[in-house]
Symmetry: D2
Subunit: 312 residues, 4 copies
Amino acid sequence: MEGTPKRPSNQELLLQEILQEALELPLSGEVANYIPALASVNPNQCGIAVANLDGEVHMAGDANVPFSIQSVSKVYGLTMAMLRMGDDLWRRVHMEPSGQAFNSIVQLEWEHGIPRNPFINAGAIVVADTLVSHYSSSKSAFTSFVRNLADNQDIYVNQGIFQSEKSHGNRNAALAYLMKSFGNIEAEVEDTLDHYFFQCSIDMSCADVARSLSFLANRGVQPHSGEQIVTRRDAHRINAILQTSGMYDQSGEFAFEVGLPAKSGVGGGIVAIVPNYGVICAWSPRLNQYGNSCLGMYMITRLAEKLGLSVY
Amino acid sequence: MEGTPKRPSNQELLLQEILQEALELPLSGEVANYIPALASVNPNQCGIAVANLDGEVHMAGDANVPFSIQSVSKVYGLTMAMLRMGDDLWRRVHMEPSGQAFNSIVQLEWEHGIPRNPFINAGAIVVADTLVSHYSSSKSAFTSFVRNLADNQDIYVNQGIFQSEKSHGNRNAALAYLMKSFGNIEAEVEDTLDHYFFQCSIDMSCADVARSLSFLANRGVQPHSGEQIVTRRDAHRINAILQTSGMYDQSGEFAFEVGLPAKSGVGGGIVAIVPNYGVICAWSPRLNQYGNSCLGMYMITRLAEKLGLSVY
Amino acid sequence: MEGTPKRPSNQELLLQEILQEALELPLSGEVANYIPALASVNPNQCGIAVANLDGEVHMAGDANVPFSIQSVSKVYGLTMAMLRMGDDLWRRVHMEPSGQAFNSIVQLEWEHGIPRNPFINAGAIVVADTLVSHYSSSKSAFTSFVRNLADNQDIYVNQGIFQSEKSHGNRNAALAYLMKSFGNIEAEVEDTLDHYFFQCSIDMSCADVARSLSFLANRGVQPHSGEQIVTRRDAHRINAILQTSGMYDQSGEFAFEVGLPAKSGVGGGIVAIVPNYGVICAWSPRLNQYGNSCLGMYMITRLAEKLGLSVY
Amino acid sequence: MEGTPKRPSNQELLLQEILQEALELPLSGEVANYIPALASVNPNQCGIAVANLDGEVHMAGDANVPFSIQSVSKVYGLTMAMLRMGDDLWRRVHMEPSGQAFNSIVQLEWEHGIPRNPFINAGAIVVADTLVSHYSSSKSAFTSFVRNLADNQDIYVNQGIFQSEKSHGNRNAALAYLMKSFGNIEAEVEDTLDHYFFQCSIDMSCADVARSLSFLANRGVQPHSGEQIVTRRDAHRINAILQTSGMYDQSGEFAFEVGLPAKSGVGGGIVAIVPNYGVICAWSPRLNQYGNSCLGMYMITRLAEKLGLSVY
């Protein structure tokens, strides 16, 4: 009825309850500070969104506030590269868990420039390299891809973050040059890093992220559009890599405690896939020692418990 | 009707078809040869069994032939230790994927004697140490536990394998002494290794293994007895560790291609858990470069494809 | 007497004898081929020179043919940096043997961007960085320094090698960016690498190299000019680092078999310091598995044996 | 003349002066505490002895007090093994610096059970293994060898230290079992470790140590007896390994600052070889972060400076 505010659904009530619990926890964790532009975010923001397979998105808190997706972008990059390269991709990046801190250069040396998986920085740089090589303009292709998935044309790169990433990217440059010395970077290192930092610097909201990745919970089909984004098999495969490698060096613990494929970013976002149910995205900037959002972990863990969402 | 052989079920027909495909593949892989007793097995044996949640076990090939379970024993050991120690266990062994060859000593050094997970050798030795410390006779406790799970009192240790393991166990002794130097082995190293080699040397058939671990596919309840072996939460957690770490340095690839929690052993056995469906155990002695059974991998992959069994 | 050729000295006869022995050895080793410009050198060239403390230089074979000094340049760079920075240098590079292949990135990661010593690539890049930061034109300062030491104004960079190094320098770029990420590179990485590749690409003859480093055998004083290049103490210190770290991962063996401080380069040159006696430089392009000249090793070893030159 | 005390020589006056300087330094360092028996030593003891090539031994402070030689024993073990095995020894242990903390297991794994040099624990265990295999009673052979070198029959193992070492030797057991898994330990691990801990537990004074190793400064000939202990070449070689690897992860710095081959032990002893001059042994129990005696380092450094003793 006109003029009447929509009543919150049961799921929204649950999300609000969990958000409230999270906000009452003692503060812990620190905002990412390796680049100034990230460090200046308001640390008290907190939101959660769930995209169901009927196309609805339920939300609580700051679920519509855009944040820096950072490593969550690796999921989009991987999807694009799998579409473009097919199984050739897996000759340039493996799909094994890394068992190391998220940006360690040691394993890359041992394994001759082939990164362990596409969700460690080295692997995502290789993925970025394939996009730079395959697209005339990989950055605009990336933005278009994400906008279409999220059904939202108002998704942009954050220029402040982008420039900041570029000027603090020495470690990623080291990874890229090391891989180039092994022959596993095809484009110019500068161009590959430019794309990589660009995709990390995209701003999206919890609602955007949850909606955009719904196809992973739905056998490859985007619920709101009916479009087959990837094959059922590739949706399963992306989920598998998320499960073993999506949460930095806390991936095993997250599988153990929550049991869902997930990806986090140092902007404080975490997205978790619930096959045949939907996609959860939680966001809050303070990070634990592994680089995962403290409140994001809490909220997703609680929601999974309450709804019994483990894949096991 | 008296005298009439039971007709094979549809599932048995499917298992036989897949077994037949496997047997027609070009031979590849080598039988484990690090101990003479394992190297002498007939390499051409091949079997598969599926235990469904109704308590039925379907079989094909050598599914009733006992084989050396080797690292599959780590699942039983972990279950016993979780029951005995609760969450205290996780202060002595982590649950992160290892990202290394299955018996590497390097990571153990870096992480001060705390193994990455209970399915690498170091982790299973810590688990064995907890059993030695908590049971007056850990070896007979282990055998009883497995016999009850499998509902089969005719499960025994293979003395030839056991002695052979003990006399070729220098690397595992190195792991154990290194952990003891970090204070993470409580019993005498000799006693802990004695238990560890004992449990690796148990012989079981595919049918035994599949039936015995059915509780993992059934929220902790053993279907044929109705007994709650572990909590639903712990069943999920064991599956999570199987998924990220059960298949040596091919764990990521197995999650990627098959999407099921699984554990393999160098005796050629592989067990895969299908939550809410059942447990598959395949066996054939020839191993690929990662130590996983070539035909075992093939048969489980095919069955999962044909029945759409991925958790994702 | 006018018109009469100078008779070879006893030392020259000895050098010719050793050279002859070397040339009669079965061929072994390969010319460095990581850059095309190095790979095209005539592999059969072979020379040796000894600069005595009286200022005389004795020679045999191709001792006057300029070759690419490559890592021998690290000795000049280190000397310049010690002169410029004093003991501050040792906060940015250590003086411990590396125990790794000469360009490994692993140890650099473990030790937070501080290279183990100035003779591994990472350490020499830090040294280059100090020169770039301290000189308005570090490349011409380097050339001048070497020319004066060698008392030869006809020493030049090889432009073909220089360009080739720059276009194949991805691994060194990785080292430099990694150190920059730890804050241990002050200048722009590009400028530091430009200097580093420049100094590696200088061409000098055995005679040039032997004469130029004579001060290291003479308590810091250049014999032919009487100039005090470095303090006695610093001459000792440079010799110490040469002894423990100058011959890549064959440094221990060279100390063991020969007992002299020495530095080799992948251009095939090796220079050895004999305190209070003189400096030997041998050159031949074929390298052994460690990157050291096969015939250079042979000739210096033989000469040291015959003359009893070990410091021990 | 009867009743008249011998006047101190100039060298003794110098030693006393340096000792006095050392005793006036602010206290620093900690006594080794990994075994209780070592931790109970009086930390304020301090002595220095110099054995000259004329057979005289000059002393100051507690130079006649026996202390636990610990890793200094590795020099005797190596000498015995070289005498027994000749160059075959070098197939089982290398002579390259290790570039790692003194007991790291990582490099041993990388290099397939061949230790980098005989002065890291793993290398000394291999040396011990050769002695156990070659002697019917390696422990008494060791004691006899040392007594003869020192010309002192009153040298004994310290039983308290020996038992303490054996019961705290888990890390060394890990090294030994790891090497055995690679086939590089021939005897039973228990027997090899028994010998290794025995030789570490010998008590000797500064005067004993200095006199016993005089042959290393004298081309293999023991000055007081005229006996050729090893060839001139092997004396040089032992000195070379001492120079590159004798002072744990401070070996490079010691070569850099002092310029003498040397070996230290966690009992607080340090012995330095001065070719063609003599042998210095200093002792004081407090250790720096590398496991080297603080005052021992100081006294040897000062003496070398004052007498200009560097090999360079």
